[in-house]
């Protein structure tokens, strides 16, 4: 376990040196532009627009980083054979995998925190005052991070047994399907075969339900986010991520590196 922080720190350093955090510049420019624009075209809904735009951007940018860098975490090391010298050290394969996961989640945390600061600055520049419900932006950020961690775990799992291209497709596919997991559970109709209905519902329970991490509607409109929802989402996210990472570790520990 002591090797995990070493691998994680190096993964974070790689992301920084590969200029992954440069996306923050784009985000900052977007928030500045949005703040100027909404001040001119909207009356009374500046706050809603800024939060909505900010949280959506954080989520979308985070998902891109989680999928593309998540898949590259292991596949790039295997492709470039940087892994060979490392695995000949007293490092267990699961330690390497967990270190890579933690390193990318650290990167996403820094990225998300910087973006959150950007949203708060934009809010202040528009309203020149804080509202008590602004604190829930942090709750939304936290749940987005949980979602991103789960996406990274899925990307890692797929990259352990297939090509990077397919791993990206699979991860994106599971994410999109996971957004509709709730809808799949409530599918009903006279025309639908009961067997197929049971199958669809069964699959919907296997898929990660990403809607569990979505509180944007409440936060944008200044409503509170129930604490029960937060801890249930936390438990769900941690459990699902742990299961996926365990699966990835099992697959990776048996993988022949060519």
């Amino acid at each position: 376990m002591r090797n995990v922080p070493t691998v994680a720190a190096n993964t974070f350093r790689e992301a920084v040196r590969d200029r992954v955090l440069y996306n923050l510049v784009f985000f900052a420019l977007m928030m500045i532009g949005a703040a100027i624009l909404v001040g001119q075209i909207s009356i009374g809904i500046e706050r809603d627009v800024i939060i909505s735009l900010g949280l959506t951007a954080i989520s979308v940018v985070g998902i891109f980083i989680a999928i593309f860098l998540g898949v590259a975490l292991v596949s790039k090391e295997m492709d470039k054979r940087t892994l060979y010298a490392l695995l000949a050290k007293p490092v267990k394969r699961w330690e390497f995998l967990l270190g890579k996961f933690v390193g990318l989640v650290m990167t996403l945390t820094v990225n998300t925190a910087a973006m959150a600061a950007g949203v708060y600055i934009a809010l202040w520049s528009v309203n020149r005052a804080w509202q008590p419900s602004d604190i829930y932006i942090l709750t939304a950020m936290y749940l987005i991070l949980l979602k991103l961690a789960l996406i990274v775990a899925l990307a890692l799992l797929f990259s352990c047994f297939t090509t990077p291209f397919l791993a990206i497709l699979f991860t994106a596919g599971v994410y999109v399907a996971g957004l509709f997991a709730s809808d799949l559970r409530t599918v009903h109709g006279v025309e639908v075969d009961p067997g197929a209905l049971r199958l669809v519902r069964g699959i919907s329970y296997l898929l990660p339900n990403f809607e569990n991490f979505n509180v944007m509607g409440a936060v944008v409109h200044g409503r509170s986010v129930p604490f029960a929802l937060v801890w249930q989402a936390t438990l769900y996210g941690l459990l699902y991520t742990t299961i996926v990472l365990t699966g990835a570790a099992i697959v990776f520990s048996r993988r022949n590196l060519k």
Binding site: T82, K89, L257, K258
Partner: protein
Amino acid sequence: MGEFAAENTKYTETELKKRIGRSRQMERPFCLSRVAGCEHIVAAAVDDERWLFKNIYMPQGAIEIENLSKEYPYGFLHLKKKKSLEDLSMQVEEGEVFGFLGPNGAGKSTTIKLLMRLIFPTAGTARILGKPIDDVSMHASIGYLPEQPYFYDYLTAYEVLDYFARFHNLKADDRAARVEAMLKKVGLDTAKKIQLRKYSKGMLQRVGLAQAILHEPKVVVLDEPMSGLDPLGRREVRDIILDLKREGRTVLFSTHVLSDAEMLCDRVGVIVGGKLRGIGAPGELVDIKAQGMEILFELSGPAQNLPLLEKATRTGDRYRVQLPESELYTALDALKDAGGRVLSVAQIKPTLEEYFMYLVEADRAQASAVEVSGK
């Protein structure tokens, strides 16, 4: 069933196994199956009711490989299998430099990757320093240089060595000192702050070598360590390998460069087509395949009736003839009768390269024979 002397008492292997099973402390664990049938002395002493066994004079293989095989599936559904390594059994003794020779695709890198647990065997086992290769703790005592090594190109040489050193639990001061010393040893101390993306192939090879020996491992496994190096670099690597030997470390390295193997190795193993074709000291191997005798002689006058002249090559006044060892004395008698003067008689010793080529050609001939009979 072997018998073992312990404290002037003879035990059968079964009795000894029972006693070792009771022991709480052994100076150096060993494998009894290797003891069976050997004449090495196993001594035992009683100390506070604890049995202490010592395996005196027991040769301990630093690397022990038993029936190691590797098959790779191929084809659309991975139903076909290609044998990359077949039933490899060999041992590298402690403190020796062992050269692993073979043409491209012979199975050298496969064997090394199996030992490093980068790939998994289809059958067979291996131990390094007495521990099975799937024991990760064993990796603390081994160093490995991959073939054509590539490292994180966003790191400098110093950073990459520091990163690898962290996995060996070295304290910060010790780590820094070792990294600096190692950079100097491989000639990269002036380039230590340059990112590896700007390094040449030869420089990366040096970084690879440095990370392999940074933690002073007991066993060093180098996959093509001379690859990509200029003559100066090759010489430096040779010197490092000799240093490692002087320090009592075991070195296993694969190479295409037979002169390096001849110069550095205590023993070599030649692998062709996934099978070990020969193993031993370079001198022993070429002696085994001695190809006959060569006589260098002069004749004082014309000797028309000397049959030896038909096979001889003339250079000035001298004749050189090669013949099987069984015909040596007959030929010498004939020369004496013809008034010839023998200048030298020498055994024809092929070089390691010739021996290597002989094995490769034999393997190809066998493979084509199988192909023809298969048709």
